[in-house]
């Protein structure tokens, strides 16, 4: 409780929904990264930009930190509250303000669900392309803050490629309009900077997204393989042949079984790996791609190739894929999902190393991921009831991410850093690079009140963890005592 701040909220915006009692705050103590939790001072649920402005001004004046969230579906813990802070929940700001079919744009409030944008655009033959698996519920504001991807971002791009303009409220209450209706704007590209900024720079109150015409024709293929390596090689061959599928997803046996058990989309249970491939475009173009892809799949030892015969079957396949993570809970209720990106060509090697590391740790690892763009999502199973297991799963997860960096990839494809991958940020970036992040943060938030301690590690934490990146034997701050 922070009585003066609560009084501020009541005085300035009497209609603001404030939750400040433990009983009702508890459900807000975590997002979808449930291994970590913290009870905030209070949660506020604004309904307008004007209320957001007042909330920020009050927090700024009182020096109280603030964490922002939308639907709370993030899985890197970036929206887990701070015990000494306010939690701003933007789920009530969920109006679709305008859909402009001529300009192919939609202007929405941050709490609008990703899929709701497509629903509003559908009557005009348009859709919003980024489609994270949680799209039925995750909100656009969070999508921008995390720079969300999805199965279709291989062809259509990440959130940053599909947003034209945003309104952001800065810590001092100033409203910033970033981006424009045009494709390019002069000056620094602040729009790109805001994407993936994880609530560290400002609160997003409005987003203008690009809408994409629905493809004329779609083919969805399912291909089953006798080994993970065969499937991974097929992925490389498809992209290498110049085909850019709308989606190219891979899952291993454990995921196939879990999905089938809960969603029965007809996945072949005898396969070791499975690819879901979606080709879209003009009918002639798709027909040509289809022939190429089918030939590659056969040459890559696919044991079964199946084409979705209608929209219902196609939707069923994707529903199963998008529900994969929750379905995995049926194998083991406690698991830890990672998110890293690697150069596509390294897929077979990296997956083999994952399996080996899992065996060394004695922990099961399942893989379901966006193979087309090399965005891996290894899932580590553990038993939360056993002391130390969770920590071990995090240790293993860290090692998996470090493999990504080693082969030239990154520690996040689309889930963000949050609190989950702070350590690996120290491995990913040089000290000078991290310092630059801090400088940028300070420009927007000199007091360090917006989601502090998330997404970008403090330099001293990096040295404490011993995770500082060493390149060419050059140890940063060699004089600093470590361990």
């Amino acid at each position: 409780m922070h009585a003066p701040l609560l009084a501020d909220f009541q005085r300035i915006t009497p209609t603001l929904k404030v939750i400040a009692d433990t009983e009702r705050l508890k459900p807000f103590e975590t997002d979808a990264f449930i291994s970590h939790r913290a009870l905030p001072l209070c949660a506020v649920l604004p309904e307008s930009e004007a209320q957001v402005v007042e909330i920020l001004k009050a927090c700024n004046a009182r020096g109280v930190p603030l964490v922002t969230r939308g639907a709370g579906t993030g899985i890197s813990g970036g929206a887990i509250p701070l015990e000494n802070g306010v939690l701003a929940v933007l789920s009530r700001m969920k109006q679709i303000l305008a859909v402009d079919p001529a300009a192919r744009t939609a202007r929405v409030q941050p709490g609008v669900a990703n899929a709701a944008v497509t629903k509003a655009a559908a009557p005009f033959g348009l859709f919003y392309a980024p489609d994270p698996s949680s799209q039925i519920v995750c909100s656009i504001g969070g999508n921008v803050a995390e720079n969300a991807g999805g199965v279709h971002c291989l062809k259509y791009g990440l959130t940053v490629h599909n947003v034209l303009r945003i309104r952001v409220v800065a810590l001092n209450g100033d409203i910033l309009e970033i981006g424009s209706a045009a494709l390019d704007a002069p000056g620094y590209d602040l729009l790109a900077l805001m994407h993936g900024s994880e609530g560290l720079l400002g609160l997003i109150t409005e987003v203008t997204v690009k809408l994409t015409p629905e493809p004329e024709y779609i083919e969805t293929l399912l291909a089953a393989f006798p080994s993970v390596t065969d499937a991974a090689n097929a992925v490389n061959s498809i992209i290498g042949a110049g085909v850019i599928p709308a989606a190219l997803e891979m899952m291993d046996k454990m995921v196939i079984n879990a999905c089938e058990k809960f969603m029965s989309a007809g996945f072949p249970l005898d396969a070791e790996a499975l690819l879901l491939i979606e080709l879209d475009g003009a009918p002639e173009e798709v027909a040509e791609y289809l022939a190429t892809v089918e030939a590659i799949l056969r040459a890559s030892h696919a044991q079964e190739i199946r084409r979705a015969c209608d929209d219902t079957e196609r939707e069923k396949l994707w529903k199963s894929r998008k529900g994969a993570f929750a379905a995995l809970a049926t194998i083991c209720p406690d698991y830890y999902t990672m998110d890293g990106t690697i150069p596509r060509r390294c897929l077979p090697e990296v997956l083999a190393r994952y399996a080996q590391l899992g065996a060394e740790f004695g922990m099961m690892i399942a893989n379901v991921f966006h193979a087309g763009d090399g965005n891996l999502h290894p899932v580590i199973f553990y038993d939360a009831a056993k002391p130390g297991e969770m920590a071990r799963s995090e240790e293993l997860g860290g090692k998996l991410l470090e493999i990504c960096i080693e082969v030239g990839g990154t520690i996040t494809g689309e889930h963000g850093v949050g609190i989950e991958k702070l350590k690996q940020m120290c491995v990913q970036f040089r000290e000078s690079e991290l310092a630059m992040f801090h400088v940028i943060k300070a420009v927007f938030d000199p007091e360090g009140l917006l989601n502090p301690g998330r997404a970008v590690p403090e330099l001293k934490r990096c040295s404490e963890w011993g995770g500082m990146h060493v390149r060419g034997g050059e140890i940063p701050r060699a004089d600093m005592p470590r361990f």
Binding site: T22, E23, P27, T30, D31, I34, T73, R92, V137, T330
Partner: protein, 421 residues
Amino acid sequence: MQTNLAEWIKDTPEGIEADAILRKCVHCGFCLATCPTYQLTGDELDSPRGRIYLMKEMLEGNDVTAKTQHHLDRCLTCRACETTCPSGVQYGRLVDIGREVIEKKVPRGLGDQLKRSLLKNTLPHTALFSIGLGIGRAVKGLLPDGIGKYVTSRRDEGVWPQPVHARKMLVLAGCVQPAMAPSINCATARVLDKLGISLIGADKAGCCGAIAHHLNDAHDAHAYVKRNIDAWWPAIERGAEAIVVTASGCGTMVAEYGHLLRNDPVYAVKAARVSALYRDVSQVIAQERTQLSAVLKSKADIYPVDAEVTRQKVAFQSPCSLQHGLKIRGVVEGLLRDAGFDLTMVPDGHLCCGSAGTYSLLQPEMSAQLLANKVNALESGSPDIIATANIGCMAHIESGLNASSRTPILHWVELLDRRLA
């Protein structure tokens, strides 16, 4: 989710069940997307995930007050979240347990108690309810809107065929339905008669027990359940093939009899048998599809299936109890199409109409918003008729239809009965 249930509940049957359900939840938030109350308020506490967390806290022994109860009361128990949940969390069971626990922990205000007790003691008693409804119909013009809108007109029920067939099935009489719309079970009896099945009643059976169950009165609920089992048992022993229920809301309850009495030394076995015999009317008719199409064909001269002019447009409202509770989806729609009806598109068909048992009376504000949305959605395809599968939804939706341009609303089996007449 990691759980650590309190000693007082941990090892009880409810505690063990609740713990297993909670452990399945991964807090992914998918359920928020299809929860009618979250769609209205945008507040996590009015979502399944929020309620699950509130219940978890209570079951872990933390202090609980009317605040938690408020959000549990606001849940419709429509179970749309169960349909959406990819982890198979049985929210409906969990909220039953949660509500029973909180009922003991948090005393209700006098007004609330009175309202609940009134509902519990009138609705399940057909005779009492009939008298009230009869008076209501006579003086409808004088009643305040809030009550008057639920006083629906009565349809002629027609003749119940003689039980001449060797194949016999029991039908749940119900409580509110025989008073408000006796035509539904009668129509079912006629349709099944044409399919070679005699539908029979059992004198002493009545309310399925759902009203008491949803008002968290396990004692009364179990009494209703046992009364029905006793009433049906002789017919079951004589070989009744099934227990047919025409109100899907009651159906979810009968389907659970076995579970509810699983620890009852006297009734456990019988209750399980009753639940195994339970069938929604759509399941029974769908199983006799060959016979149905033969009968439909014989009527083809009266209702030519292909002639556009005679095809009626029907908006089917699939009750939550049917699609989410019983997980029967697309069956009624298929039967109506077979019978030559055109089904209109109903947007957001997965969302509750706000009836939800006694919800419309206990949570009038939320219920009214959901009703307005549902009526708009149902009428958006300009149907000639609205069809449903549950008496509660029927009365509730009828109350929300515009009086001037009122689209008739019927149970879908009544439509089928008309087509076969």
